[in-house]
Point group: C2
Chain length 284, copies 2
């Protein structure tokens, strides 16, 4: 059995002591960015992973979703950022926006905001995630994950068609909140339906919940932040604050935000097709 892990700061609480808990149970790990794990999970190369919320919905029939567990934000998230040379997203109508190749959900979130909140139709181009290159050729650039945390914190000047400037920065968590009043769910933990029962029997789900529980204590967050900050060349406080502000235990409000998003982003979406893992039902 294989578990996919993402090497972003925001997934560290999930892994906190997961490997130790699963030692000797025949579980391996694969690492990648969200878009890679989405693909690997669908291809059956891995059995369980934190995946883009929109991919969990697109492949609802093949997956079970772990309830209460995910990555959500109420308001500013700080790792899903649109950088742009224009001072209002509205001005991106007809303009070119470079989209990160790391993510599926964030891309659909940006598209939904352009359509529903701003009534604009930019031209979207998926590119390698590298802000300076993206903004050298495009009016806007969607950047996610650790890169976004760094760029949103240091706010450096970049080369634009009109010289060196600091781009404007839009936090899509806050944009979504302004439009809907709801939190946004970026990632969900999903397992393949054909192996979910085996994973549960091997204690993988329990280990994941327990590892996350421990990874979210203040002490654990501080140690994750301190260890990770050096890697990003950021202060530990930036990482600590970031982890503190995310929502890992999904509430009814988060699920309402998820549902609203999926209904906006997908044609003919049916919430009832999502299958949430119910341990009690299996135990019977």
């Amino acid at each position: 059995m294989k578990i996919g892990l993402i090497d972003y700061l925001n997934t560290m609480p999930f892994h906190y002591d997961l490997a130790e808990r699963l030692q000797g149970r025949g579980v391996g790990f694969t690492r990648g960015v969200p878009a890679q794990l989405n693909r690997a999970l669908m291809a059956g190369e891995i059995d369980l992973a934190p995946i883009s919320a929109i991919e969990a919905a697109r492949h609802a029939d093949e997956l079970v979703i772990l309830p209460d567990l995910g990555i959500a934000s109420l308001g500013a998230v700080r790792t899903v950022l649109l950088f742009a040379w224009v001072s209002d997203i509205r001005e991106l109508d007809g303009q070119s926006i470079a989209l990160t190749d790391h993510s599926a959900t964030s891309v659909e979130l940006l598209k939904a905001l352009c359509r529903e909140r701003y009534g604009i139709q930019p031209q979207f181009h998926v590119t390698r995630q590298h802000l300076p290159s993206m903004l050298a050729e495009h009016q806007g650039a969607l950047v996610i994950g650790d890169d976004a945390l760094v760029e949103g914190t240091i706010r450096r000047a970049l080369s634009s068609p009109h010289g060196w400037n600091m781009p404007y920065c839009y936090d899509l968590g806050d944009e979504w909140l302004k439009m809907t009043g709801l939190p946004f769910v970026f990632a969900l933990w999903a397992a393949r339906r054909d192996t979910a029962e085996a994973l549960d029997k091997a204690g993988v789900f329990t280990a994941l919940y327990e590892s996350t529980e421990r990874g979210l204590t203040e002490e654990a967050r501080d140690s994750i932040a301190t260890a990770y900050a050096g890697k990003l060349e950021l202060s530990a406080g930036v990482c600590c604050r970031y982890l503190r502000d995310l929502r890992y235990r999904l509430t009814e409000e988060d699920l309402a935000g998820l549902r609203r998003f999926l209904e906006l982003a997908l044609d003919d979406f049916d919430w009832n097709r999502l299958c949430f893992w119910q341990r009690a039902a299996v135990a019977l």
Copy 2:
């Protein structure tokens, strides 16, 4: 009769065509920052003004509040910003924070966040609002209004005890949201009880509501933003987006946020002491 007006971008929609509507009705205008209007209203020098939400509560017995009208934000507000040399607000424990002399509510909001969300006790010093001077001598600086919009947009490097650096920036609208899940009400329109009836009879309240209604149309917002942007040396888009994201018509949710804040900030606060103007009752 005298109306107090604030010369911040965010109050422009209220004044949009207020002066024209009130021409020939014996109404004069006085301008100032929120702290000045708070004082002038209590002193009876003016009869009606947009004032700090906390001052409206502190002087509840002398004032009537216009219902549904105010300035609120759900999430990031962009004009109530704490700048600091530390990467996590938590690190300001025992440190010195310079507080703007423009505002009462924002100061109390920061204090409530330090106490309730971060469990820290900084040393607060009210100073002239000027970010470079504030951060030259203090670890943190609370800046509001147009100055905050400018500093939060340009994000310039400033002189610190350790050389030139770009300070970290915390949006207190988002901080409040993360703590409570609620919007924050920054300003309310309040009239002195002893002149409220005369103001209403002269059509002042009606004119204010109508002027605001017109000032919030997309066309009006765009023209306000364009006119104001030059004054702040910002792009019109920054001003436009800012006006679009504020909430001027208060909902039940905004009032729940207001109540929560006043209960946290004031000892023995009693919501029922606030008197909201009821036109129907007066008409009877």
